[in-house]
């Protein structure tokens, strides 16, 4: 009885020791856009390296970078570049960091399949989403009211579209906000005058994607994996990992895996655009 007890205690101690000694837990926190990608990458990585332990948490780019500045996460994932104010906070704390681009995300602008319009310039998109252009006939379509659909203000996609397409101007107040990308696709497919924006991965046959021009109408490019890969499609954003220079050794194996051909294959599987 006593022998058994000692054996048990010993084995527990050994297990505990090995857990603390061999598995260095890696924490990744941030953007909900990058979340599904990081989860899949971590899953495949842990399958190959049984000793590795990675925790991936969402919450938004801002939340991730705030945790990064506080030192409560090893890697911050972000769907936007680090802001000047955040850089200054890191500088105040005396921390130097590294930025790694892990993939790209393209946003496609979608309309109802019955809509005649098939291409828009950046300026027209800005006018539509700020509420200046309200009828499709102003951009070469039928006499039909434009119904704009957007994601909720909490989403990183909302911010990206605002910064990138609308020059930081605010959305018009009549804009319809949907809680999820799937809801935007559903609504656009059943509303004749609708326009919305979604991640490339969500593009479906029941909606029509719009060709976009960023050079005042000279060239129009449609969103697809090819145009996103060769960077001719303009509404595209890099997805980032941020880590401290002093954590280099700890995060290196995982980040190199993400950047490796196997890791980049995962990127494409999840629906984002690989680096090359």
């Amino acid at each position: 009885m006593k022998k058994n007890f000692i054996r048990l205690t010993l084995s527990i101690a050994v297990v505990l020791y090995s857990v603390t000694a061999f598995s260095q837990e890696l924490k990744i926190k941030g953007s909900d856009t990058v979340l599904p990608l990081s989860q899949k990458e971590a899953e495949t990585y842990m399958k190959q390296n049984a000793s590795a332990k990675i925790t991936v948490i969402g919450g938004g780019s801002g939340v991730g970078l705030a945790a990064f500045i506080d030192g409560t996460t090893d890697i911050a994932m972000a769907s936007r570049k680090i802001k000047m104010s955040e850089k200054l906070k890191l500088q105040d704390a005396g921390k130097s960091y590294k930025e790694v681009t892990i993939a790209f995300d393209a946003l496609s602008v979608i309309v109802n399949p019955a809509n005649k319009v098939s291409q828009l310039t950046k300026e027209q998109l800005e006018g539509i989403f700020t509420g200046k252009i309200t009828n499709w006939k102003e951009v070469g379509g039928d006499d039909e009211k434009i119904i704009t659909y957007s994601r909720e203000s909490s989403s990183g996609t909302f911010e990206f579209f605002k910064e990138h397409v609308m020059n930081g101007k605010n959305y018009g107040s009549a804009i319809l906000m949907m809680p999820a990308t799937g809801a935007i696709v559903q609504s656009v497919s059943q509303t004749k005058g609708a326009i919305g924006y979604i991640g490339l991965a969500y593009l479906e046959k029941n909606v029509k994607d719009i060709k976009v021009s960023y050079d005042k109408g000279k060239t129009y490019v449609g969103a697809s994996m090819e145009t996103a890969k060769n960077k001719t499609y303009p509404i595209i954003r890099p997805l980032f990992y941020y880590h401290l220079n002093k954590d280099e050794a700890k995060v290196k194996p995982f980040i190199s895996y993400v950047l490796s051909p196997a890791g980049q294959k995962v990127v494409e599987e999840v629906g984002y655009v690989p680096l090359n």
Binding site: V63, S85, S153, K169, N170, Q186, T191
Partner: protein, 402 residues
């Protein structure tokens, strides 16, 4: 001995009951205090993001700009200082991140140590500039002038019409469209649900035979058990396109779609409570009516409904309460456009939907976070008012029955 244990046992049970009721009441009071403390912290604060200031050139005569004007300036709607009572000078927008457009990386220093000085220099040499910069840049040797803005007050929160909680540099917290949206949807929901619910309740209590009742009752109770997100999904896929077709609207996500879905959700409450009220009509009254030669419909119409009216009113009000607080279904079918609704055939945004959609990403303790709590306070006061009304009406009923 046995009696002693019996007594002890009773005391223990009493103690447990007392403790659980105290804990529950205390928890409720604490939640309410917490809600109001967080919500009221919004008022008296500047709408400009915390830790940041808005600065202009020192020679600029403008020294105060309203929060709504700041938004229009940064949206490019106001482009000249003249519109703000200043000189005839174009407004030059500047955000901290724009610094790299004006200076090279070497000029800013390896660790960005020269940024404050360079911004100060830029503001000094650009007469039309309006700059949105961190407060700490203005601490020493700052060449510009810091603009003051009007503070957020409870009156403005309730009366203003723009809801842009994440607008930079100055957020706009006008809750009026949200309050009106909530009221419109809730009252319209009751307009649908009350006649239908009342008819069902009368049928079940007075007309249906025992067999039908035994099938219907569980069905209606099942309606109460369906998760609200399922109702929302049903609304988005079925009711929204239907409304769009029937009324030939440009968009189907409207207040009407919300009211229909919320009306269906309020039905079980209305039916169960008014059926109970109808059933409490004393048999003697019914029999008296029938004995006087009144037929079944006359009895229902003249005797039973007047007797049960306070219970039916309570049912209607509780139904409104259910609709006022409903989150997920409203979020999915009303379109969530923060505009003042002028009718039910327009998209609108409700308070619960706003809180549910925005709280997840609002930075904790920030202005947006507090504003959502203030919205919660308004919602709480609405439902509290509704509950007090129910209390009042049911107390009236007791007086009648005496």
């Amino acid at each position: 001995m046995r009696r002693f244990f019996k007594k002890l046992f009773e005391k223990i049970i009493e103690g447990i009951l007392f403790l659980s009721s105290t804990v529950t009441s205390l928890a409720i009071v604490l939640i309410v205090i917490f809600l109001f403390r967080e919500g009221f912290a919004l008022f008296g604060r500047s709408p400009v993001e915390e830790g940041f200031v808005i600065a202009v050139n020192n020679k600029n005569p403008v020294s105060e700009i309203k929060a709504s004007q700041i938004k229009d300036i940064f949206d490019g709607k106001i482009t000249s200082w003249k519109e703000l009572g200043g000189n005839i000078e174009d407004i030059v927008l500047f955000r901290t991140d724009d610094i790299s457009n004006y200076f090279s990386e070497e000029e800013l220093g390896e660790n960005l140590e020269h940024v404050p000085a360079k911004i100060s220099e830029l503001i000094n040499k650009t007469p039309g500039i309006i700059a949105f910069i961190p407060e700490k840049f203005t601490e020493n040797d700052f060449a510009g002038k810091i603009i003051t803005t009007d503070k957020i007050t409870a009156g403005k929160f309730l009366a203003e019409k723009q809801w842009y909680p994440t607008a930079q540099p100055a957020a706009q917290f006008g809750a009026l469209p949200l309050i009106l949206g909530t009221l419109w949807v809730s009252f319209a929901a009751i307009l649908f649900a009350l006649p239908l619910g009342l008819a069902t309740a009368i049928y079940m209590a007075e007309i249906a035979n025992e067999k039908t009742r035994r099938v219907m009752k569980p069905l209606i109770e099942l309606l109460a058990g369906i998760p609200s997100v399922v109702y929302g999904f049903f609304g988005l896929i079925v009711i929204v396109p239907l409304i769009q077709k029937v009324f030939n609207l440009p968009v189907g996500e409207t207040g009407l779609a919300g009211s229909i879905v919320l009306g269906i959700m309020a039905l079980p409450t209305i039916i169960t409570i008014s059926e109970d009220a109808i059933r409490t009509t004393p048999l003697s009254m019914k029999e008296a009516s029938l004995a006087l030669g009144a037929n079944k419909w006359q009895t229902i119409h003249r005797v039973i409904i007047p007797y049960a009216i306070s219970g039916i009113t309570a049912a209607a009000i509780l139904g409104i309460g259910r609709a006022v607080g409903e989150t997920m279904a409203a979020l999915m079918v009303t379109g969530n456009a923060a505009v003042i609704p002028h009718g039910l055939l327009q998209p609108l945004r409700t308070i619960p939907a706003t809180i549910a959609a925005e709280l997840g990403e609002a930075p904790q303790q920030g202005l947006h976070f507090k504003a959502l709590f203030a919205l919660g306070c308004i919602l709480f006061l609405m439902t509290l008012g509704i509950n007090l009304l129910v209390e009042y009406i049911s107390s009236k009923r007791k007086n009648i029955s005496r």
